[in-house]
């Protein structure tokens, strides 16, 4: 058997699956974004139009896109702000024998059901719920609760790469910096942060993309809040081409984001 035939036998089935079941479906939905619907039957009509994309620039949808980007950005920033000190503690401050345990403690909730975690926050923020009784205040369903829940959901995706980066950072670099007279804060800014950037970028791919595409958590804790995901959902039955255009926009934002962070070497850190 020639090597070429062997390769074809290995590659054939998985490529056929991914191209037909996945890329084929994606191609259909991107094409749909350029079609229109019959105003009476709501059926998709296959005539080319850019109208769906023009409609995106209406104030309503610009606001929804802006709000979604703001949520994704806030969640990413919060995840970074929590993950960096936490990962530093796990990798450098905590006793060595505890490190594996701490890592597992971050990993386990990552795999607990996404839906259940969103649901857990619903019971946390509900009126007369845990937060209300513990602190006498709750953000209630809405923007604040959604940012909090998404931060909670995606935090492990940021902690893991940052922790790995701290582990890789040689102790000697930190000592050299201190020996050269740098105070801890200067060492952090000039030695630690540059070493962390690719890891943070890698984590942000998840925190950003997952926040961008979310439409389940927002229904559970977001109250009546409208984001890209819910807008897609509402248009599917009546105006599939417009829903497809909204979906295309979120995929496009994500591709641009991937291209932007690729420069930091984030993709090798996934």
């Amino acid at each position: 058997m020639s090597r070429r035939r062997g390769l074809a036998a290995l590659l054939g089935p998985p490529l056929l699956w991914l191209v037909v079941a996945y890329l084929g479906a994606l191609a259909v939905i991107f094409a749909t974004a350029f079609w229109t619907t019959d105003p009476f039957t709501n059926q998709v009509v296959r005539t080319f139009t850019l109208e769906n994309f023009a409609d995106l620039f209406s104030p309503t949808y610009l606001r929804i896109i802006g709000r979604t980007l703001l949520i994704a950005a806030l969640v990413t920033v919060l995840c970074i702000a929590i993950a960096v000190p936490l990962a530093f503690f796990m990798a450098r401050v905590a006793p060595r024998r505890l490190r594996g345990l701490l890592l597992a403690a971050v990993l386990v909730p990552l795999w607990a059901s996404y839906l259940v975690k969103a649901y857990a926050w619903r019971t946390m923020v509900q009126p007369d719920g845990v937060l209300d009784n513990a602190f006498g205040a709750t953000p209630g369903y809405g923007f604040g609760a959604l940012v909090l829940t998404l931060t909670y959901l995606w935090l492990p995706y940021m902690v893991l790469p940052v922790y790995a980066a701290f582990e890789r950072l040689p102790e000697t670099h930190l000592e050299a910096s201190a020996d050269l007279g740098a105070r801890p804060l200067a060492t952090f800014r000039r030695v630690v942060v540059p070493a962390l950037l690719p890891a943070i970028a890698a984590g942000s791919i998840f925190t950003f993309s997952l926040s961008l595409g979310d439409y389940i958590a927002v229904q559970i804790v977001g109250g009546k809040l409208q984001v890209l995901g819910t807008a897609v959902l509402q248009n599917i039955t009546l105006d599939l081409p417009f829903a497809a255009a909204l979906g295309t926009v979120s995929a496009l934002i994500m591709v641009l984001y991937l291209l932007a962070v690729r420069r930091t070497g984030a993709l090798d850190n996934l």
């Binding site: 991914l18 503690f89 386990v108 909730p109 607990a112 259940v116 790995a164 993309s209 599939l240």
Partner: protein
């Protein structure tokens, strides 16, 4: 970096707060499954196992559990075959377009799930149902899940193949074994634990998935997460939903815990 005592105490306090933040919501859900108050008033006024009994007898969650298990097994089986083939091809051969394929395999989990969801839904409605007579149901759920489970198997097997190197396979070939014999007697036994680890992760992911499943599940084939979501906003179902949620936590954590132990040294290399 020499940290002062104050900084160390501050960091420890910070980490304690974060770990509390991570675990309290999960703990609250678990405790609420024993909360005698129907609307989960906090602190719980009393302890009861009534909801667990109710949930264990309810037909809805039981049917949904069956669908979830079937979907998980089906998707895992397909992903095992396709992911292993792909990992072997990409680790043991050099060819044009290799880089593109390694991106293609990650794409199903990197792009927003809702895009994948509406894409599959429109294929089901416009092609599968009218042309092949296949409606949304268990089959379409499995197809969707298998597509993003491939990457889990692929990552686990690739990590193992990289660590193994190719010398054992070469030795086998030198001794006259045909490629399939080499795979059966050399490669496969070495891959076995990484396949099991990947399969457990794939099953856990499939078991928990809701974003794509919403669009591929038919009215008669609800998975457990879909059942929870559909009943989430019905006040009188709340206690049963909560019990099912606890079951879901346990079912999705145990396989991952096992997978971590099985994968051993590979685990550090593949994080997803």
């Amino acid at each position: 970096m020499r940290l002062g005592r104050g900084a160390k105490i501050a960091l420890t306090a910070f980490a304690t707060v974060v770990f509390t933040f991570i675990y309290v919501p999960i703990l609250v859900v678990t405790l609420n499954s024993f909360n005698s108050d129907r609307t989960f008033g906090w602190p719980p006024p009393g302890f009861t196992t009534q909801w667990w009994n109710l949930a264990l007898q309810a037909q809805g969650p039981r049917d949904a559990l069956l669908v979830s298990v079937k979907a998980g097994l089906g998707a895992t089986a397909i992903a095992l075959v396709l992911g292993t083939l792909l990992a072997l091809a990409l680790s043991r051969f050099d060819f044009f377009g290799k880089h593109a394929i390694s991106i293609l395999v990650v794409l199903p989990i990197a792009l927003p799930g809702i895009v994948t969801g509406i894409a599959l839904q429109s294929v089901i409605q416009n092609l599968l149902t009218p042309v092949f007579g296949i409606g949304a149901g268990l089959f379409t759920i499995i197809v969707g899940h298998a597509t993003f489970c491939i990457v889990l198997i692929f990552n686990n097997v690739t990590a193992r193949l990289r660590r193994m190197g190719g010398s054992l396979e070469q030795a086998s070939a030198d001794l006259g074994a045909r490629p399939f014999t080499t795979f059966r007697r050399v490669t496969f036994p070495l891959l076995r634990s990484s396949l099991l680890a990947g399969a457990l992760l794939a099953f856990a992911l499939s078991f928990d998935e809701i974003v794509v499943t919403t669009f591929t599940a038919g009215p008669d084939s609800q998975t457990l997460p879909i059942w929870i979501f559909n009943n989430l906003f019905r006040p009188n179902q709340a206690p049963v939903v909560n019990v099912v949620a606890v079951v879901l936590i346990i079912v999705s954590i145990v396989p991952v815990w096992l997978a971590q132990r099985l994968a051993g040294a590979d685990a550090a290399e593949s994080r997803i």
